[in-house]
């Protein structure tokens, strides 16, 4: 839980979120992208056509690089608050040419 975060701060109790079925710890109320960033996850998806790595770039909802699938549609992880038990999927799921 501590990696990438200021150590020594007492935070609200962590909750579990799922990314492609994998259980991850996150702080309620923070944005999904930051929860993933704090655990060292820089690449969140691959670009649709050339399959290059993509991740959070602007951190303010402008660049759409940190898209994840949630609730059946692509959402910006940097603008998506953590909710206990939420199930996220990497986006896009299918590799296209």
């Amino acid at each position: 839980m501590a990696e990438g975060r200021l150590p020594g701060v007492t935070r609200p109790e962590a909750v579990t979120i799922y990314l492609d079925g994998e259980a991850l710890q996150a702080v309620p109320g923070e944005m999904v992208a930051f929860a993933l960033w704090a655990q060292g996850r820089r690449q969140l998806r691959r670009s649709a056509r050339v399959l290059e790595g993509r991740g959070m770039l602007c951190a303010m909802g402008i660049c759409y690089e940190c898209l994840v699938e949630y609730g059946g549609r692509a959402q910006r992880a940097c603008m998506l608050p953590v909710v206990a038990g939420m199930e996220l999927r990497s986006w896009p799921q299918e590799e296209r040419q």
């Binding site: 200021l6 150590p7 020594g8 701060v9 007492t10 935070r11 609200p12 702080v27 309620p28 109320g29 923070e30 602007c58 303010m60 402008i62």
Partner: protein
């Protein structure tokens, strides 16, 4: 000691308490720098008056420089500030600024139109000149909060985020005994309310009534990083009127039309912050185009190439305003152990270091380096009593 609020004032207070060897804990309802400090410009700005504010602000800037030199961990751009004169009517204001600041011992100078153009070629050619104060600068506020907390934690302080203060418990003599939070009671002999625009909610929860600190909104925009057309922090002389003059009252029944003046902050990362407006409209932080568009047009009048830059984001922040334009720093009368450190309006980043040092010296029963009794929290409560 418990500090309420994880904005820049709370972070600086926690750091100064820890540095003074006091056991200190901060509670923050949301995340660090999630309110006003996360929505501001980050300017470090000398206040030309009154004399106490000049001394207090320049002392705070000195504390910032020392903290940055000793510990670093955040961006501080020592870019100096230009107070721009637009027409011959501003000449007297510029001269008055120079006389005042030099009279108080501040290094500064007047630039005529030619030397202003040489210093800042990106400015409109028809400006008459500027007052230049080299000691000002810009910090990145979220980083600065984090640097202050990192050091406070190293010195043994504690930080709890996601923890809301909801009330106060007093002992038999009426003094502070514990801070009540949504996660249980925290026993403490002293509480420092650093909650900014939320400070009235906290004084009310402590049974003191609402301290007269009011949200005064500011709309800002930021540009895409690139080679900037200007390199100094800049304000127009009219900024003094909108920032420190009386333009409206927060409790007036009529809607406040707001005021705006040029305020440009070139950031260390190559972006330019453009502001700024001031308006009383409650806690509303939704972006509204009106005043922001006027601020942008005003900025372009001073920096014609501003139109070449791309805006990437705009937002609003809430400054904690006090009627006499000075922060309320010190012990609250009638409630031993309760301290206020709030109401810095647009100067929270500038003043937080001096303000925090003042609180720490009071809590240790020491002398501060100047007579700052005019900033005392007692005036808040006399204002409440006399309505």
């Amino acid at each position: 000691m418990v500090v309420i609020g994880g904005g820049i004032v709370g972070c600086a207070t926690l750091y100064f308490l820890a540095r003074a060897g006091l056991r200190a804990l901060m509670v923050e309802r949301d995340g660090v720098a999630g309110g006003t400090s996360g929505a501001c410009m980050g300017h470090l700005m000398m206040m030309p008056g009154p004399e106490l504010m000049f001394r207090f602000s320049t002392h705070s800037l000195e504390l910032w420089r020392r903290f940055h030199a000793d510990l670093g961990g955040f961006d501080l751009r020592a870019c100096g500030c230009l107070w721009l004169g637009e027409s011959t009517e501003d000449e007297a204001v510029l001269e008055d600024l120079l006389r005042t600041v030099q009279g108080l011992g501040g290094t500064s100078e007047l630039l005529d139109a030619k030397s202003l153009h040489k210093k800042e070629p990106g400015l409109a050619r028809d400006l008459i000149g500027a007052f230049y104060y080299p000691g000002d600068g810009v910090v990145f506020p979220m980083q600065a909060c984090s640097a202050l907390l990192r050091e406070a934690l190293r010195l043994g302080a504690e930080v709890r985020t996601g923890c809301s203060a909801v009330g106060l418990q007093r002992d038999g003599s009426g003094a502070v005994r514990a801070l009540l939070t949504d996660q249980g009671d925290i026993s403490t002999a002293a509480v420092v309310n650093c909650a900014g625009v939320w400070a009235p909610d906290q004084t009310e929860a402590a049974g003191l009534g609402r301290v007269p600190i009011f949200p005064r909104r500011g709309d800002l925009a930021i540009t895409m990083p690139r080679d900037l057309p200007v390199s100094h922090q800049m304000v127009e002389v009219a900024y003094l009127r909108t920032a420190t003059g009386k333009v409206a009252d927060p409790e007036d029944e009529n809607p406040d039309p707001g005021a705006f003046a040029l305020n440009l902050q070139p950031q260390t990362n190559g972006t330019l912050l453009v502001g700024s407006s001031r308006q009383f409209c409650g806690m509303d932080r939704a972006v509204r185009p009106g005043l922001l568009q006027q601020s942008l047009a005003r900025a372009q009048r001073f920096v014609p190439r501003l139109g070449d830059l791309q805006l990437v984001r705009s937002w609003a922040g809430l400054r904690p305003y006090t009627r006499d334009k000075m922060p309320m720093v010190g012990a609250v009368p009638g409630l031993p152990g309760y301290y206020l450190n709030a109401g810095h309006e647009g100067l929270g980043i500038t003043l937080c270091m001096a303000s925090a040092e003042l609180i720490a010296t009071q809590l240790r029963g020491q002398e501060f380096c100047m007579d700052a009794s005019a900033l005392g929290a007692d005036r808040a409560f006399s204002e409440m009593q006399h309505g």
